[in-house]
Symmetry: C2
Subunit: 348 residues, 2 copies
DNA sequence: CGCTACCACTGACACGTGTAACGTCGCTCG
DNA sequence: CGAGCGACGTTACACGTGTCAGTGGTAGCG
């Protein structure tokens, strides 16, 4: 373990004891000063000396030691199985940035960890090792019961998971995917469409989203006795889209709600290439509605109609997390993560 | 701090001492067994008892205590200023997923942290608190000298930062953006184009990439005395693209290399809407080359030509990190993160 | 002058873990 | 029979931090 090659390979980070020695005070005094507990306990001069010493040595407190002592850590873990990370859309990444900033302001360290998806329990173990103050999932398969139990047992004060309903002990972050389908379906039905295809992505991580969206469309269609809803499988490749477009005449549909703007654009282009017309002006056209309202959806012609999630401001969620961490007895509840709205354009 | 509302709010996580009590052995024995150091020290029966007890209690080691004892932590920090996180493209997120999995296999915990961008030094402080085994940046403004010094002083064994050249003490991860420009420029020149516009994104975080790409195009043009290269500003909005398209005739260009497929598509659509033709078949057409080779680039017509980065497999980078962590004396060097290649399609 | 109150600090402990050093058996060999 | 020796465990310390309980010393007050 001792490496003769390294000259002074790891020059031992400065500790609070080093700061104390340099400032000529005790270690306790250093701690009080650097944590703002010095009022009425430590004189001005001593405080100044401590601060100067800390600055000169480049002292940075050791988070591990601190959270060991404090009993609870200060890190907030945004957990995501590794294979779902690539799926992160611009919406989520934008939220993520704001969230981490907000957490920082509250004294936490927000961190994103994509564990290997092999076993969800193994992932939870890896997360539990960090003894995070809170764990949230926004994406991918939600935490299951054993995972939540493990985390709770490891002292995690707040566990929040997305999905329709969280296992016992965990709070629910609700971005009701059903609502997305409901809005899209209602929009298409109001436009006179009755035979609606719903694109289900073939990518495995996304089924958890696609199912409730499909259910939402079905719920919207229930109000119209003559409406018909049919699921369609589509992978994110040109070949897959071409296959679906080739089969289109047999399907006898007049509208599609795609899982995503990307899927929508892919399919729309394939339909156009197969000779179909996209839009809602005449009954012969195919109406297409996507989701996420990507900028690129406006580049195709006609412009893509899209269901957009309006996410709760990240500061609000950060505040919620803080609250839950500080009063860990709070009974689990459901918290809205956002709502959906249709951005109507030309395609549907 | 004591919360009367919480019944048994935090049921104190099980420690190795609890496992030891339950198994009827000492704490040291537990440690040996659970870390695989039991060969020849602990009998089979005792090992079995320890493992069973750990399982029953749901014991998970406390990473903070462990890294406190070990001196160095096991977390590998992927650092990114918060405002650059939304810019993560599919390439990087895909890399990220594989990287975290590979790190996990090597015994590290890979974690992504977007610190508030306010002060780069403050961000480095936040990172240093975690005493990570390694810190890398792939994106955004690279680490500067004080940040690297702070991290090194905090005991971080390996600091790797992207960008043309790393500050002293840090390794360089090279994804040579100049090369992207070089390839795109060479491709356009080989296709007969001579007056090349280069799109510089108005978004602030991206200047660090855009500059060297521009330089690369200039370098490619240097071989042709009659070639001309002109920078163009463009924001990622339809209005900005329309403005640029309106000014197009005055610019007298016959090709564009855009920062990104997104920028490329945006501009391409705006040019088309302004009556220009995209392609390379006739001299009157405008050749467009993007970057990143997004699937969506193939949906527009003509299909978008693109410069694609071929990123080093994440396992390789993870192995490199492990190597550097284990022999911290290694003098800083430059490591290739990938190379660029042109995916030629119809637009340029 | 005695008592209290306050100030400016310090000593010491606990948090959970890994591991080097140190027993304690039971057995074998000289 | 004692010494030596594996096999099997344990005792004890260190890591860096936060904070409770003191501890002198000085000043205020009756």
């Amino acid at each position: 373990m001792t490496d003769p090659a390294g000259p002074r390979a790891t020059p031992t980070p400065p500790t609070s004891a080093a700061v104390a020695r340099r400032a000529g005070v005790s270690r306790a005094t250093v701690s009080y000063v650097l944590n703002g507990q010095a009022a009425g306990r430590v004189g001005e001069r001593a405080q100044a000396r401590v601060r100067a010493a800390a600055e000169e040595l480049g002292y940075v407190p050791h988070a591990a030691a601190r959270s060991l002592r404090a009993g609870r850590g200060s890190i907030v873990l945004l957990a995501a199985p590794a294979d779902t990370v690539p799926v992160f859309g611009p919406l989520l990444t934008r939220f993520l940035a704001g969230f981490q900033t907000a957490l920082h302001a509250l004294g936490y360290t927000g961190v994103l960890h994509g564990a290997p998806a092999a076993s969800p329990l193994a992932a939870a173990r890896a997360w539990a090792e960090l003894r995070p103050a809170a764990v949230l999932t926004l994406h991918g398969p939600p935490l299951d019961e054993p995972a939540v139990a493990l985390l709770r047992r490891a002292g995690t004060a707040a566990v929040l998971t997305h999905g329709p309903v969280a296992p016992p002990g965990a709070h629910t972050l609700l971005l009701d995917q059903r609502e997305a389908g409901l809005r899209a379906g209602a929009h298409l039905l109001a436009g006179g469409r009755r035979r609606i295809g719903v694109v289900l992505p073939a990518e495995p991580g996304l089924a958890a989203y696609a199912e409730p969206r499909l259910a939402g469309v079905r719920a919207a269609a229930a109000a119209h006795p003559d409406a018909e809803v049919r699921p369609l499988d589509l992978a994110l490749t040109e070949e897959s889209a071409a296959r679906l477009a080739a089969a289109w005449p047999r399907l006898n549909l007049d509208a599609v709600f795609a899982y995503n703007d990307e899927y929508a654009m892919l399919l729309m282009r394939a339909l156009q290439d197969a000779g179909h017309t996209i839009g809602v002006r005449s009954p012969g056209e195919v109406a297409v509605v996507g989701a996420d309202d990507l900028l690129l959806g406006r580049l195709l012609r006609p412009r893509l109609t899209s269901v957009r999630a309006e996410i709760t401001p990240p500061e609000r969620i950060a505040g919620l997390v803080d609250e839950l961490v500080r009063s860990p007895g709070t009974p689990p509840a459901t918290h809205r993560l956002g709502t959906f709205r249709v951005a109507a354009r030309d395609s549907g």
